[in-house]
Amino acid sequence: MTGADPEYGHLVPLLEQYAALDPDDPRREALRDRLVTGFLPIAQHIARRFSNRGEPLDDLVQVATVGLINAIDRFAPDRGSDFFSFAVPTISGEVRRHFRDLGWSMRVPRRLKDLHVSINAVVADLSQTLGRAPKPSEIAERLGVPVAEVLEGLEASEAYRSSSLDEMLSSEKGSATLGELVGAADAELDRVDHRQALRPVLAELAPRERTIVLLRFFGNMTQTQIAEEVGISQMHVSRLLSQTLDRLRTRLDPETRAG
């Protein structure tokens, strides 16, 4: 994706013109409108990548468009980089900030939100090297912060409602293999007592939630393994699992549960 891109190629000279104009130049506004309209598909594309995460797509497109406008305003063609490599991170940054600020169901200090993001990144990394979920002490060591702070950060992540920032971009990954995996877990599901009518209740779940439940309770996979398989973070798996168990509990008849 460079300036030679046929879809956006004609906009590149406009970007240069725009950057060269004096801030008070009356032509600026019209030019900016053309640029925003022209590049809008990029913002929409990025917004879509963050969709299905609990925020309405319309809102995400708006936020992404704000990011696009910022990118257009701040872009300096004379620095040598092309517009895309500048705009894409600027726009996704804007959307991420939106999630960070709005995605919390409880007021959590910014410091903890940032810590949550760093913890999430380090957890993914450590899980890979360790082949299992890391311990708080291992996370603390990697981040170079006291364990107490990691504990605080982990607690804060309980307050996070929809999804975490670092797992969003990987949602497309791994879905191809899920069918097979769930197939094996399904066989195991057959061994559960039918009187619980578990299967229809499971069928009501969203595909990803259903997959996670099957893999955890019928496929005998750990959360970390599931996280890797499904392409989301361990903390996200943890949240989805507890939410889903909650739902299942209310849907399944109490007397079939307790006997």
Binding site: R132, V147, E155, V192, D193, R216, S242, L245, D246, A258
Partner: protein, 158 residues
């Protein structure tokens, strides 16, 4: 088979935490927060922390369903260096109340905890029976090299 009702066994690096609430579903989040906090402070790995949290949630929810009205849910956590044992207990609504083990909920418990068992006891004063669930959770996943899909070798007892 009565549990010691006092906290005098601080020997062998065991610390004991007891939480008593009304046997009400609304208070379970408090108990599971305690579970999760104890596991995190004991430096369990993140999978184990989350497993314990969900297991305690499930156990308490199961027990609240069979608890006598206006009775107490008591959770005793024994934190050892490498494991946490939990005994959750309620006064049973019916004398013959128990927790059935052929349900999805029980499967959840068996998956999440390393050991689970149903526990029956007598609650002191009025001699009413208690129903409990005892959980044992180790600090980390056994490094099983089992990559998926591997059928469970031990059948689920059915």
């Amino acid at each position: 088979m009565s549990e010691p009702r006092h906290l005098d066994e601080t020997l062998d690096g065991v610390s004991t935490v007891e939480v008593r609430t009304s046997a009400s579903a609304a208070l379970i989040p408090t108990i599971r927060a305690v579970a999760s906090d104890l596991a995190a402070r004991a430096d369990f790995d993140l999978d184990a922390i989350s497993d314990l949290r969900m297991a305690v949630d499930e156990a308490c929810a199961t027990l609240v369903d069979v608890a006598a009205p206006r009775s107490v849910l008591q959770c005793t956590f024994q934190v050892r260096p490498e494991r946490i044992q939990v005994l959750a207990e309620v006064q049973a609504a019916q004398p013959d109340a128990t927790v059935s083990t052929d349900t999805f909920g029980w499967r959840v418990l068996k998956t999440l905890a390393d050991e689970v068992e149903v526990h029956h006891g007598t609650a002191g004063e009025d001699g009413r029976g208690t129903v409990g669930i005892r959980l044992d959770k180790r600090a980390g996943v056994l490094t099983q090299s089992t990559s998926f899909p591997v059928p469970r070798p031990n059948g689920e007892g059915r």
